[in-house]
Amino acid sequence: MGRLTYYPGCSLRHSAAEFDISTRLVLHKLGVDFVEVPDWTCCGSSPAHMTDHLLAQGLAARNLRQAATVGDEMVAPCPSCYQRQKDAELEIEEDPGFRQTVNEVLDLPYEGSVRVLTLPEVLLEKSGVEAIRRRVTTDLVKLRVVPYYGCLLGRPSSLTGEADEEQPTSMDRLLEAAGATVQRWNYKTECCGASVGMPKAEIHRRLSRKVLDQALEAGADAVAVACPLCHQNLDLRQVQINAAFGSSYSVPILYVTQVLGLAFGYSDEEMLLHKHAVDPRPLVAKAIKEAVAFREEEARLASEHEARQKMKEAAKQDRARRRAGRVPSTEEGGAAPEEAVPATSAHDREEEAAG
């Protein structure tokens, strides 16, 4: 027991396969051991919990039960799946009576206590910022991203382990550890329209557009997400947004695990970048190229600076030597406070003298 189980969920099997693959590769690279939940089924999000409470908890509890056969923790990268299963976990843990009610609709009862975790939680807890930093091989300093948490990665903070609902930081820390340049922005936790986007397209178009707009305003080249639904609304539906508003957004939307994977040296193909509607490959290639040039320039400046410092040091020693030859040492005590008087005061005095 004690193993971490992995619940991909329906979206990661197909429409968000790149999230699935990149997550598995990144966890593997970081040495985080995991096993897929055997015979997992859909968590029911979101129609189930808006239809019937018991249905929702029953669907989630089945997966918890399946996970309990091989482990005692479960990571669900998709925040919707996470939220459903976490909610069931908590209600079943807190209320033995409810566990019984749920077990009545299951074929086999769930008697375990599996702890459900978010993907950022797993990456930060089981691996950590330092471990990530150590494995970075590709410099992404010129990839300017904004972390987009959406609704469910930050809220409610009691569930997700974020210190603040309005300013979650887990993705920021992961992206910074991967070496990307993280821009500060205002839309970390604003909604993209979620699955209501399907029945009411107007909502997601307007909300997702605003997210893209704010990302660009913040100076980002790409948006990093950790939610298949957010990805679908922002990436796949970017054409719809452009069609509806006559805009011409072309903002690559990357999964946070893809950014980590790229930093770890995985190729575009391995990270399935070609699966995105807005092709991020040109941007990634450009960022990597710029980073190389930037580091070269940085090294050049540093060596120049060092050379200048050396020259200064040499000149100073030279002066000191010459002075030691000429000036008696007693006067040095009087000179020291002079040096301490700041430039402004010295300047004032000069002016007075001039006047």
Partner: protein, 654 residues
């Protein structure tokens, strides 16, 4: 022994759930009880007269009144029986209101419980002994902690009445929050014009000593005889020499955030908060000073014409005696940045607190009274005020109303109109407008009509930057519509919170405070300026958020209470104190170890041995020594072990 029991109906407060008549009749069966009666209102004049009549006519030697909490009327009834010739400690109260009728619905069960409570009181009064108070001399000097407008007012009132007053102020100048305000509502008169003369009066008054940059460190003693240790913080400037010429401030090369201007401007490491400071003395903020941080500079020392700079200065402690203490430590502004990330948490430059805006409006403030955006210094076109930031908000742990924000926002909105002219749009997001003071509602109306301030009913959910503006996403609940305003400047009506360190001060003074750090008055209606510790009084916003008129009114009320206390030359001490049976004392001195007041002393006996003796005027009657004495030779008058056991027995008797 002849005990009389009086059961109070308290109108329907008790009689609504307790059958007062029945228990009065039943109480007559209790041992030693010779007279019972149920009365509509025992505390009323006829009620008290009835008790006195019964004492005389029925020859009562002890009295029990079953009514409300002793904290409400114990004093009243003790005086009543005393006037009828009984010792006031041969009286006991049975609390059948707060502890019975008000917390129950079922009459038979509540009645049964009330009867038990009466039985316990009868058992207690049966073992009671007459007690007689001692008298102690009273020190007539008063300590006022906090030199804001409330502290100044109390100090002036007391000093005018002839008492010696010491104001201890934590900052380097008195003046408090009011000194930072630009104008005051609802008159829009200049805050400094009202306050600074009072500050100067306090400074020049022959009966007032101001100890600025000082803190109360420890309080010992009791009413009439407090012993207070005061810490004088090291200012690194010898204030006996400093003349407040500000030359050091001008020449100091090290910059520091200007606390007086709430970070809107920079000040220097050597600091005088504002030109009218009282006392006007410089302080080195060592965390910013080059000499203290880097070991270089000493510019202030060189330029000071009075040779006042003293880098070696240390905190000093002095001890003073006082007869009464007035706490007037005021309030702080709610630290909104920590609690409202949805408003940018302090990262959006054009979102400022109400107090910052106050400084911006002020002609001698950092912008010279010019209203402009922090980000680009342009005059704002859209100014948005958001009320209830840190008030009425349980999600940030502040469920209470800060009581001043509605009015100061209206004032600031009016001043914005004056400063920026008719072109500027002014919006105020509010939930409710609380304008209960004299002339306040009229003031709000003027803001809405005369000054064309657009009041929007609703709260703001989020502030964020977009295209150089601060986007305000709010709700107009009256229209049922979401609204978005591209604002240039957003002013948060930041609420009030208790002053930093308030709980620590309360603990030093042994006074109660609520979960938010506001000090608790003795009774919300009847004893609003007293505390539960005799001789310690409250004035101003340290008790609850208050505006200036209310603070000043309360401060004068407090002064009158202090004068009442100190008009006597001697004070009677409570006779409910501990007493040692020296014949059984084994001289282990455990009592001297545990007593918080050093009341037990070693008293030499004729045989040369030493036994414990409790100094009557020092003992506060807590009884810690009683429970600690290994041979049970100490007893607490009024709360003897026998009387407690008797009560337990009565309560448990079927």
């Amino acid at each position: 022994m002849r005990i009389g029991v009086f059961v109070c109906h308290c109108g329907s407060n008790i009689a609504g759930t307790v059958d007062c008549h029945a228990i009065a009749e039943r109480a007559a069966e209790l041992k030693d009880v010779v007279y019972t009666e149920d009365v509509m209102y025992t505390c009323s004049e006829p009620g008290q007269a009835g008790i006195q009549r019964a004492i005389k006519e029925k020859g009562l030697t002890r009295v029990v009144v079953a009514s409300c909490s002793p904290q409400m009327h114990e004093v009243t009834f003790r005086r009543c029986v005393e006037d009828a010739g009984l010792n006031p400690h041969l009286f006991e109260m049975a609390n059948i209101r707060e502890h019975c009728s008000w917390i129950h619905d079922d009459m038979p069960r509540a009645t049964e419980k009330a009867y038990d409570i009466i039985k316990m009181a009868v058992a207690k009064v049966r073992t009671a002994e007459p007690l007689f108070p001692n008298e102690v001399d009273v020190n007539k000097d008063v300590l006022v902690i906090g030199g804001g407008v409330a502290g100044i007012q109390t100090a002036l009132d007391l000093a005018d009445a002839g008492l010696q007053v010491t104001i201890v102020e934590r900052e380097s100048t008195i003046g408090g929050t009011m000194a930072r305000l630009d104008k005051t509502f609802p008159t829009i008169d200049c805050s400094a014009c009202i306050l600074t003369p009072r500050m100067v009066d306090a400074a020049h008054h022959q009966n007032i000593a101001i100890m600025a940059y000082s803190e109360v460190d420890r309080v010992q003693g009791y009413v009439g005889n407090f012993v207070v240790d005061i810490k004088r913080r090291a200012a690194m400037v010898d204030w006996t020499r400093c003349i407040g010429c500000e030359l050091c401030v001008q020449k100091c090369p090290a910059h520091a955030p200007d606390r007086f201007n709430v970070g809107l401007a920079e000040s220097k490491a050597i600091y005088i908060p504002f030109p009218q400071a009282v006392p006007k003395r410089a302080v080195i903020q060592t965390e910013y000073c080059r000499w203290f941080q880097q070991g270089k500079c000493r510019v202030c020392s060189r330029v000071c014409p009075a040779d006042a700079i003293d880098y070696e200065q240390k905190d000093t402690y002095i001890q003073r005696n006082f007869g009464a203490i007035v706490v007037a430590t005021g309030m702080d502004v709610f630290p909104w940045e920590e609690y409202y990330p949805q408003y940018g948490g302090g990262s959006i430059p054009d979102v400022i607190s109400g107090l910052q805006y106050e400084r911006m409006l002020n002609a001698s403030g950092p912008t010279g009274g010019h209203v402009h955006r922090i980000s680009n210094h342009e005059e704002p076109k859209n100014v948005v005020f958001i009320q209830c930031v840190g008030s009425r908000d349980e999600s940030v742990g502040r469920p209470y109303c800060s009581s001043v924000c509605c009015m100061y926002t209206a004032k600031q909105a009016i001043l914005t109109r004056n400063h920026c002219g008719p072109e500027t749009n002014i919006f105020v997001f509010y939930i409710d407008i609380r304008a209960t003071g004299k002339g306040y509602e009229e003031f709000i109306k003027r803001a809405q009509t005369e000054f064309n301030v657009n009041y929007v009913r609703g709260r703001v959910s989020k502030l964020y930057e977009e295209h150089g503006k601060v986007m305000v996403r709010g709700m107009d609940t009256l229209l049922g519509q979401q609204v978005e305003i591209p604002a240039d400047l957003v002013v948060l009506a930041t609420g009030t919170t208790s002053a930093e360190g308030a709980p620590q001060l309360a603990q030093a003074l042994n006074i109660s405070y609520d979960e938010f750090g506001f000090f608790k008055e003795s009774h919300p209606k009847l004893r609003p300026v007293e505390t539960n510790t005799a001789g310690v009084f409250l004035a101003g916003a340290c008790q609850a958020p208050k505006d200036i008129p209310t603070s000043v009114a309360q401060a004068s009320g407090t002064a009158s209470k202090v004068l009442g206390l100190l008009s006597k030359d001697k004070l009677k001490t409570s006779p409910q104190i501990a007493v040692v049976d020296q014949s059984r004392c084994v001289s282990c001195w455990k009592c001297t170890d545990v007593c918080p007041f050093s009341a037990p002393e070693k008293q030499s006996q004729r045989d040369g041995s030493q036994k414990s003796h409790i100094i009557e005027t020092v003992c506060q009657g807590c009884g810690i020594c009683v429970a600690t004495c290994p041979v049970n030779c100490i007893s607490l008058k009024g709360f003897t072990t026998d009387s407690i056991i008797d009560q337990i027995e009565e309560a448990l008797l079927a």
